[in-house]
């Protein structure tokens, strides 16, 4: 099985979230993929962080993660097949959070989901309402 980290899973890993940390010890390094879109999302989010020390820590952790994954050719571009899938996902109502204050999945995160679908990867993501909305999407929630 090949896993694609969601952008939030990547950030969770950089921030030492316990469930993600435990999960990384159970999977082979060559089975992990990261979308180039997630790298952009993570960098953008890190840039918004006010605490300079935390920003530096996150930047360093991201850089080491990218380098580790590059060894295994684990960085996946957003290619033509993913773009075709993404165009369909953009027409769907995909909820990141439901309830009284629903939030839709961003277009960038849809690019990551599209990449998982187009390549047949299993998305690594915390449980989200949209997971059951998207046909054929395989998800694991550590």
């Amino acid at each position: 099985m090949v896993y694609l980290l969601s952008s939030q899973s990547l950030l969770d890993m950089l921030g030492d979230e316990l469930a993600m940390k435990a999960w990384t010890g159970t999977v082979q390094a060559n089975s992990i993929k990261l979308s180039s879109v997630s790298i952009g999302q993570a960098l953008y989010q890190i840039e918004q962080e006010q605490d300079a020390n935390l920003r530096a820590e996150l930047d360093d952790a991201l850089e080491k993660t990218i380098r580790s994954l590059q060894i295994y050719e684990g960085i996946v571009p957003f290619d033509a097949s993913a773009a075709r899938t993404w165009s369909k996902l953009m027409r769907m109502k995909l909820l990141h959070q439901d309830g009284s204050n629903p939030i839709e999945v961003s277009s960038e995160s849809r690019m990551v989901v599209a990449t998982a679908l187009a390549k047949g990867f299993t998305l690594v993501d915390a449980a989200r309402p949209f997971h059951s909305t998207v046909q054929r999407l395989k998800v694991i929630s550590p």
Binding site: K21, T24, I46, L54, A61, M92, Q97, Q135
Partner: protein, 138 residues
């Protein structure tokens, strides 16, 4: 001739968390798979053609030294096999550890939501009017 499978498989069980433990276990593993005994510098020098030939045939050669400072002679083909065997079986956590990865002290959350003016060349009104149901085929 290439390196023996038993040696390559044993590489995957080496303790990689601690460098000194790894060096000790690796030296023991290398010596246990030697064609002959580790060589002194003098013996290696005097018989270098033979040492080189054996290494090319897949019999790696060790030159004696202080613990952790022994030297190894092997072919690029065997080095590639070692790297392949070691890299293939590493967990993601171990790979991160080897890279010097240190997690930040706090996690941050990704901003989600479709934002007008930030989406990629989309006519948002048009997109909203065309939203389709969950069963859409992908």
């Amino acid at each position: 001739m290439v390196m023996k499978l038993g040696f390559l498989t044993a590489l995957q069980d080496l303790p990689v968390q601690d460098n000194s433990e790894l060096e000790k276990a690796l030296a023991e593993l290398l010596i246990s798979h030697l064609f002959d005994q580790p060589l002194t510098v003098r013996k290696a020098r005097d018989n270098f053609s033979s040492v080189n030939r054996l290494a090319r045939q897949g019999n790696l050669q060790i030159i004696k030294g202080a613990p952790g400072e022994e030297t190894v002679i092997l072919s690029v083909k065997d080095l590639a096999a070692i790297i392949k065997a070691a890299v293939r079986e590493m967990t993601f956590a171990e790979a991160l550890d080897v890279s010097g990865f240190k997690p930040a002290r706090q996690r941050i959350e990704l901003t989600e939501g479709l934002r007008v003016g930030h989406d990629l060349a989309l006519n948002v009104k048009k997109v909203k009017s065309k939203q389709i149901e969950a069963s859409a085929a992908l």
